[in-house]
Amino acid sequence: MAHGPQPGLKRWLYTTNHKDIGSMYLWFSFAMFLLGGCMALVIRAELFEPGLQIVQPEFFNQMTTMHGLIMVFGAVMPAFVGLANWMLPMMIGAPDMALPRMNNWSFWILPFAFAMLASTLFMEGGAPNFGWTFYAPLSTEYAPPSVTFFIFAIHIMGASSIMGAINIIATILNMRAPGMTLMKMPLFVWTWLITAYLLIAVMPVLAGVVTMMLMDIHFGTSFFSAAGGGDPVLFQHVFWFFGHPEVYIMILPAFGIISAIIPTFARKPLFGYSSMVYATAAIAFLSFIVWAHHMFTVGMPIAGELFFMYATMLIAVPTGVKIFNWVSTMFRGSMTFETPMLFAIAFIILFAIGGFSGLMLAIAPADFQYHDTYFVVAHFHYVLVPGAIFSITAGVYYWLPKWTGNMYSEVMGKVHFWLAFIGLNVTFFPMHFVGLAGMPRRIPDYALQFADFNQISSIGAFLFGAAQIVFLFNVVRTVMGGKKASDEVWDNPEGLEWTVPSPAPYHTFSTPPVIR
């Protein structure tokens, strides 16, 4: 087992090592994050002033669509899979993932999927322009020809996610070190186990819905075409049956990361471990029965509206359990505020704000006003940017010294944090106001009265973008060298990953550790 990586490019092409694959996932996701971020900046630059200045409406639509697709499927999901690859085996005392060759494959099909998706930008008729939710018939009868590439890109991403999820479940269920019972697993492992089940349940539904689109477009079926006896509303039901669990796929692993970081820097064990596990499971279950809250305005019987409204509000209960547990963990703790902790605390505060605007949106009668406005944009960016992105960033800062053996620059980390924190709030908070005042989403122009808030949002967006450059620089510098990190890195952190040397050797836990 002592052999190391192959030299050169072969190491990355042929690798079956969970650490190599984890690193590739993380770098790939960062590249996609920058690409999707540039698209967001095109959107914000256009919205800096009312009227059309920089891009044509058709291209603006392509930008909103591609930004959403790339951030969801290219940035957030692969980043979590990358963290899972790096950390799960080290957290449960396993030598590697259960299915290392499939692991290699599930990563290496991703760049092809996204190359295919991005290539549509250069095609005749342009990239997909129907929004990341690709509602039929916009994405079928009225779609640009490139929609077929989009469909196959989604198929490949789905295959990658399903393989990744199978691998994670097999690893967690079969590869734990002796004595690592389920209720001793770190919460990141728990949340990923549940997330992986969500992935296996709903990624095939996404594949199914794009397959139905493909058949409608090319093979004359009428799943979503009213003229042939189908129903466009069916699309929305199937899409959101995938889409709602999908948003929890993007947030549950984040809960795991935060549950690892808060106890370390509060120097107290996590409050209410088992309630955290049950709350995660409850959220995952509820995510399957709330999908129609995305479509209150399509025309539902009152009983349906009420059911989906109350079921959605119910999710606030397990989520509240989690928030209170994190706060209780910090209560009277001996807290310090290193960069991962700053991101983790910002996560709790800002995610709670996003949760509250979610509760507002869940109120069916009120939703008729909020629907498809910037209020919705503000809501899901408040849960996804501080939720998914901040937690991934926190996780990277937290484990980077373990991965590289070097300490990152704390000063630069704090600069990154404050730029990102201020930039994020300046960008997305004003969107609540313009949304409530009626500014519709996905439109390149707007009424004059929204101009001030939109300018503020655009300035914030560029600030947030600049913050990520600091992040990139800090990470690259840490990978290259810097102050050596100790094996424990932090002050008495919990978890098996801190018992191996820093940097973590190419092979860890070739013999299982002893679990107390």
Binding site: I166, A170, L173, A201, G208, A227, V233, H237
Partner: protein, 190 residues
């Protein structure tokens, strides 16, 4: 040895994923259609109705309004012969929609019904409807499209007006290479 266990769990999970794919394509849409038909969701009305002898409720009058709409670029003239009629529940009623193909090419159309209030959808029966078939009109031809319906005597008390809307779709290209006037699958009929 672990390898056997990993293979076992992988196969199970793959089978789960495959079954979710089958579920989303082959099971969800029919369930949705059945659900819509039962609840009248989206104003979907049922397929052909076999008339059963029923007593006509003379004490009650329901207004049925008719709306005809052309989908996007559909060039036909399309209108109901009467805008509304008063019916007694249980009574068999006939009316026609008038369609004229004023273009210079032969075309095929499909009418898709929708009904409000949704609650009334399951109490509105069509024993004959032009929407069960595609309608083919030669260039310049016009036709009277028949509709025979019964409002169910069990119609809930609060409902005094029913609006039945037909949207006419141009399906010439979609069905250009099929034989004339196919009956569309009643299971998927809107």
């Amino acid at each position: 040895m672990r390898i056997g266990e990993n293979t076992k769990i992988s196969i199970k999970l793959l089978a789960f994923a495959a079954s979710m794919l089958v579920f989303s394509i082959f099971i969800l849409p029919p369930i949705y259609d059945a659900f819509c038909e039962i609840t009248g969701l989206n104003g979907k009305t049922g397929g052909r109705y076999q008339a059963v002898p029923a007593t006509v409720d003379k004490s009650r009058i329901v207004t049925v309004q008719f709306v005809a709409t052309n989908n996007e670029n559909m060039p036909w003239e399309f209108r109901p012969s009467v805008i509304s009629m008063k019916v007694h529940p249980g009574e068999v009623k006939d009316m026609v929609f008038i369609a004229a193909n004023s273009t210079s090419r032969n075309m095929v159309a499909q009418a898709i019904p929708s009904l409000v209030p949704f609650k009334a959808a399951q109490y509105f029966h069509k024993t004959e409807c032009f929407c069960f078939n595609q309608q083919e009109l030669m260039a310049g031809e016009s036709a009277e499209l028949p509709l025979r319906f019964i409002v169910d005597p069990d119609l809930p008390d609060g409902i005094n007006t029913i609006t039945l809307s037909y949207t006419l779709f141009d399906v010439t290209e979609r069905f250009a290479n099929k034989t004339d006037k196919n009956e569309i699958d009643p299971e998927r009929e809107g």
